[in-house]
Symmetry: C2
Subunit: 300 residues, 2 copies
DNA sequence: GAAACCGTTAAGGTGAACTGATGCTCGATG
DNA sequence: CATCGAGCATCAGTTCACCTTAACGGTTTC
C-alpha cells in the first residue's frame, strides 16, 4: 500500500519545486525527504522525479500521483473534522493566519465574538507573509487564514485549499481635494502628478496600488510605504500624498480627507485545508468572522 | 494526521467484528491490533470501540470513520492502479481466487488466453472458500476473484469491493428420466422422492440446491456430497440421484442423463478491490475471462 | 466450575526513518 | 575560466515506533 506520509512529501514537492524547500516546510532535513521520496519511487516502480540540473521536477506519473494524494489527504482531513465534531467539546487551539491589515481591521472583533460564542476555543493568531499562507495551511501550521484578493491582483487557486468569501468592499481614493472625473481611470489619472502612499513593496496592497495606476495609464510616484491604513489616511490628511484604501481601512477618516468611492473592489476570503470545511472550529471561526464583518459586508 | 494503516485495521474490524479475527486476517498478533486501535482511538479523541462482553463493537463515530477509511483506501488503490498502468510492462503476479467449480470450468481457458495476450503476467490461482474471498481480497492477498451468485442465494454487497458481471447461465435439472411439468417448482417437485446429489455442505452450491427445493415446497433428501459437476453427472447417469447443475457444469453430459432447462440462473462475477478496476492486470484478466467464456455468455 | 475465547497490558527486540556528514553536479559570478 | 554556493544523493549512526511474546482479567459455554 502506498504510504500517505510519502505522498504528502510528493505533494509538497509539487508546490515548492525543491526538496530543500519541502524539508524546510515540513521540518525535516533534506536528507530525510530525499530518502523517503526515493522509497516512494521504488515502491511505485515508475520514475516520479526527474533530476534536471540541480533541481528535481515531477514526471507526468508524479503529477498524476499528486492528484491522488490531494484526494486522499482531503478525505483524511474530512475524517479528522468529523471526529472533532463528534468530540463535541470544541476545545483546543485554532491557529489563524492573517496579513497585518486583516489582523488589525477584522480579527479583534471576530475574536471577541468567538470568545463569546465558544469559550473553550483557544485562538492563536499568526501574522504571516501572504506568500507563506498557503504553504503553512497545507503543512498544518495554520488552520484558517484570511486572504485578500484585489482586482488586478488575483489569487492563484490551490488544489489543496478551499475558501469561502467573507468580504467584498469597495476601494476608495483618499485625497485632500475632491477628485473630478467619471470612472476609476479618470479619477486616478487626476492624481498622476501627486505623490502616492502605498504599502510595503512586495505586499499585495502595494501591488494593488501600482497596478491600478498602471491600468489607468501611468506609474505612480510612491513616496511613502506604510501598511496601516489609519496611518495612511493621517498622512493623506497632512498633505503627504494620495492613496487607495479599502472600506475597512477607511472607517472613521480624518476630517480633511476626501474619500472617493471607486468601482474596483477588494475581496477577502477565509481559506482552510480542503476537507476541513466541516471542522467545528473552522465553522465557529468563520461564523465569528461573519458576525464581526456583518456591518461591512456587501452582497457579493 | 490520521494513520491510514490504523484506519485499515478499523475497517477490517468493521467487517470481522473481533480483534482476533482482524489480527489473523492481516497476519498480526491480536496484541498489535489492540495497541494500534488504542492509538487510533487516542488520536481521534473519541471512543471508536465499545467493549461489550468479550467482544468489541464500533461506536457510531467508529462507523463514520470507517466510511472515510473506505474512501481513502479506494483512492490509494486507484493510485496504485494508475502507477501500474504507467509502468506499462504489465509484469508481475496476479493472484486469482476462485471456488473449485469456477477453477475447473473457467480458469484453464482463461489462463490460456491470458498467457497468449500478456506473456509477462504471472497468474497465481488460489482455490478459496467462498466466505474467505472478500476478506482476502480486502487484505490484498488476492487481486481478483470469481464469485457465484444463485437465485435464492444472493451475495451480500461489500463496500470495499467492486465487481463486474461475467456469466449468466441457466441451471439444469439432471435426471435419468425426462421430467414433466411446467415451471421450476413443478419440475423439482416431480423429483421430491428421488435422492439428491449436492455439493459439500457449507458451500453456496449446496445452499442453492437445498433452497431451490425448499422454494418448491420440500426438503431434498441429499445422499451424496460431490463438488465436481462432471462427477455429479456421472453419478446421475448411474442412477444414484438427481441434481441441479449450471450450464458450465453440464457441458458434454453422459448419454443417459436428461438435462431439463430451468428458469433459475447462476450469475458469475469478477470481484476486485474498489479502485483497482483500472489496474492493467485486472483489466487484462477480465478480458481473458470474457474471451474464455464468450461461447457461454448469455446477454445478462 | 472448568475450559475456551477474547481483549488488554507490560516487557523486550527489531527495523524503519530521521539526523548529520560527505561528496557530487550544476549554475551563477567575477 | 576558476570559484563559490545551492541542491540532491549516499552512508553511517541513532532513535523511536511497532510488533511479538508472555501474562492477566473478564466473559461465555459446556
Amino acid at each position: 500500500m502506498l504510504d500517505v506520509r510519502r505522498l504528502r512529501l510528493l505533494r509538497e514537492l509539487a508546490y515548492r519545486g525543491t526538496i530543500a524547500a519541502v524539508a524546510e516546510a515540513l521540518t525535516f532535513t533534506p536528507s530525510a525527504v530525499s530518502q523517503q521520496l526515493a522509497a516512494l519511487e521504488r515502491e511505485a516502480g515508475v520514475a516520479l522525479l526527474e533530476r534536471t540540473g540541480r533541481r528535481v521536477a515531477l514526471t507526468p506519473a508524479g503529477v498524476a500521483l499528486v492528484r491522488h494524494a490531494e484526494a486522499v489527504l482531503e478525505r483524511l482531513e474530512q475524517a479528522a473534522a468529523e471526529l472533532a465534531a463528534a468530540r463535541g467539546d470544541l476545545s483546543g487551539t485554532v491557529r489563524i493566519g492573517a496579513f497585518p491589515t486583516a489582523t488589525r481591521a477584522i480579527l479583534p472583533s471576530a475574536l471577541a465574538a468567538l470568545a463569546h460564542s465558544h469559550q473553550g476555543l483557544d485562538p492563536m493568531v499568526d501574522e504571516v507573509d501572504p506568500a507563506e499562507v498557503a504553504p503553512r495551511l497545507r503543512a498544518g501550521e495554520l488552520d484558517v487564514a484570511l486572504v485578500h484578493e484585489y482586482d488586478f491582483v488575483p489569487a492563484e487557486p490551490d488544489l489543496a485549499l478551499d475558501a469561502v468569501p467573507l468580504l467584498d468592499e469597495p476601494m476608495y481614493l483618499a485625497t485632500i481635494r475632491p477628485v473630478g472625473g467619471e470612472g476609476d481611470a479618470a479619477r486616478l489619472l487626476a492624481c498622476r502628478e501627486e505623490p502616492w502612499i502605498a504599502s510595503t513593496p512586495g505586499t499585495l496592497c502595494h501591488a494593488m496600488t501600482v497596478r491600478a495606476c498602471q491600468a489607468a495609464g501611468f506609474s505612480p510616484r510612491v513616496r511613502h510605504h506604510i501598511d496601516d491604513f489609519a496611518t495612511v489616511l493621517a498622512m493623506v490628511a497632512v498633505g503627504q500624498g494620495v492613496a487607495l484604501v479599502p472600506e475597512l481601512g477607511a472607517a472613521d477618516p480624518p476630517e480633511d480627507v476626501t474619500l472617493t468611492a471607486l468601482s474596483m473592489r477588494r475581496r477577502t476570503r477565509v481559506a482552510f485545508r480542503r476537507g476541513a470545511g466541516g471542522h467545528p472550529a473552522v465553522v465557529a471561526l468563520i461564523a465569528a468572522l461573519r458576525v464581526a464583518t456583518s456591518h461591512v459586508r456587501t452582497p457579493g
